[in-house]
Chain length 349, copies 2
DNA sequence: AACACTTCGGAAAGCGCTCTCCAAATCATC
DNA sequence: GATGATTTGGAGAGCGCTTTCCGAAGTGTT
């Protein structure tokens, strides 16, 4: 049907289509883009020529003039690390990243929008990124910001690049974001642990300077205080399984009577489970454990983790929708969406 | 330092830089791209103008003429499913995807190459994709092909698009690929299980029509046969945890005396562990379990899984290197790399 | 039949950049 | 100092596409 140009040849251009159809380039363009009314007869002729030549519009050329690329960038903003730092590897291996991509794609695919992945580690890379974006490299960006104080969000707003963050920025920046009510999630965990009758309840947190983490800490503390637990033992890790195991050990050493623990993410919770088992504590009989994220690790753990469900896919999808409408309507005011987590009860608490 | 153009304004172009520096566009271009010798004085002038104007080259325009985008596409080729099919979500949530991205990025980042994500489900989308690629949408592609018989690899070679597959194509296609010696991995598992003294050994496989999966089956069968186990009970799942649990149940029903099982991936192995526990079997005392992948689930499982380590990041990195050199040298012959897996011994076997 | 109004196709001006070609300038050589 | 060989800067032709502008043709009204 479609006469593919012999491989290796110059590909057919709009010019070729126009010639074959016997019309001007302008008319061919109008037909192909469905713009304005075109005589049905010519219309037909053009499409036939498209079929015969095997024409495929060149997106680059089109973007150059329309100033629209049909591409959205997912930028992962990392703090300055060595190139060989294995951290990024760990980040990608964590289901977090994939869930975000999946959520974004579920929306972007429908709109025929592409996703381009960008990783920036240094300020120089950030500057270059913003420059490229202002130049129309992508129509907008979804930002996944890892460092506690990231200059990127501000750079983006100043550069007037349509952007949506997943997770609230640490500093106050007028940028759209989609976030989770981390404090509510922590309160859910507190409820469960206290409701179960736990007396001495500890917490294993993530790094204290990233917003998602500090919100979980403060939310947990506040909620526990309201229930008469004025002080709770705290150990912090870095969201990895190993750090969770270490934190659990230190918690157990300082407070042997611990009978409940809230862990700020599932991966660390799995580590905590290991430490607990090694210490001869049964879960949930001796120590109840509540995790956070409801990642696949929660279900795989034994016992399966009671955990705060983080609707990450939904949040990512929403951020994509937000970005898309922001791209269509530049005048859109900054608006953000906060999702409420729910508690998934399994066996660990 | 850099005089940012007021936001919302037209961005400075090469033309502007040339004017400010008092040279021609051609000279400015040459200086910026470091091409040919340029009078050191002009050189200086141009860079100064770049700084003063805050000029950032427009990649789109550049790509249009150079026919190089500095972008590589990661294509996930899926079989035709409903748009709302949750399968893709599961795929992204699995660490497999993230590990591939991480491996690719570790190489691409260094070369300043971007990664664009593409998902194609229907043949129409595949056709459009190849068209776009031939038009120079990306310099090459890394293909992650899911369906058993995917037309994409052949379309890509016929379209002369530089491509590297991760995982061997099911049909014989002259395309570069990076794969794992799945059969050797299966043999490693067989060794371990037999070496432990297991008498009745079963296997839980993935879908029988995808190469990675069938290679594990045939490799395991062959290796077991060589050790005197002419026939092994087989149940198959679809690589999900739930399917692993179900498969284990059916295996146990048919062969209550089972004392060893090789599971074709860790996620299913975790499911199998659950089924085993429910059936009152201790692991590894009653039944030894060997998984495949060494994903994070293996370490999180209890007991931690003995598993065949799949060096996915390394493979992805290698595929990126292969693609990059293929892009630089179009004449490069088809060449593939096969990685050998290793066995990671933990507690489950 | 003359007028204003609308509809529609084509010519051509770019979008921002690279790169070929040419002329001018520089250098070396005898 | 004249000649040829080599550098080096600028003019301008595109890359493939969209879109403005304009004139020609068609429609309807008095």
């Amino acid at each position: 049907m479609s006469g593919r140009a012999a491989a290796g040849q110059r590909l057919p251009t709009l010019e070729d289509v126009a010639r074959v159809a016997g019309v001007s380039r302008a008319t061919a363009s109008r037909v192909i883009n469905g713009i304005r009314n075109v005589d049905p007869q010519l219309h037909e002729l053009v499409w036939e020529a498209v079929g015969r030549t095997g024409y495929v519009p060149n997106r680059l050329a089109r973007s150059l003039v329309t100033r629209r690329t049909g591409t959205v960038a997912l930028v992962v903003s990392d703090s300055e690390t060595h190139d060989d730092d294995p951290f990024m590897g760990r980040f990608f291996a964590d289901p977090y990243f994939g869930r975000v991509v999946g959520g974004l794609m579920s929306v972007l695919r429908r709109s025929g929008v592409q996703l381009a992945l960008q990783i920036v580690g240094t300020d120089e890379q950030r500057t270059r990124l913003v420059g490229d974006l202002r130049n129309g490299q992508a129509d907008g960006v979804i930002v996944l910001s890892l460092p506690a104080h990231d200059p990127l969000p501000r750079m983006l707003t100043e550069g007037e690049v349509p952007a949506v963050m997943i997770g609230r920025p640490a500093d106050t920046v007028p940028i759209n974001y989609v976030d989770l009510a981390n404090d509510i999630g922590a309160a859910l965990a507190a409820d469960r642990l206290v409701g179960r009758g736990c007396q001495l309840i500890g917490m294993i947190s993530g790094p204290v300077d990233v917003p998602a983490s500090s919100d979980r800490i403060s939310g947990f503390r506040r909620s526990m205080a309201r229930r008469g637990h004025g002080w709770i033992p705290l150990a912090s890790g870095n969201f990895t399984q190993a750090s969770g195991e270490a934190a659990m050990c230190s918690l157990l050493t300082g407070h042997p009577g611990l009978d409940g623990v809230f862990v700020a993410n599932d991966l660390m919770a799995v580590g905590a489970l290991t430490a607990l088992r090694a210490a001869g504590r049964r879960v949930p009989q001796d120590v109840a454990v509540v995790g956070f994220d409801d990642s696949s690790a929660a279900l795989a753990a034994s016992p399966p983790l009671t955990t705060v469900r983080h609707p990450l896919e939904d949040m990512a999808a929403e951020s994509a929708r937000l970005l898309l409408s922001r791209i269509d309507d530049a005048s859109m005011r900054v608006s953000s969406v906060i999702y409420e987590p729910t508690l998934v009860i399994r066996e660990s608490a």
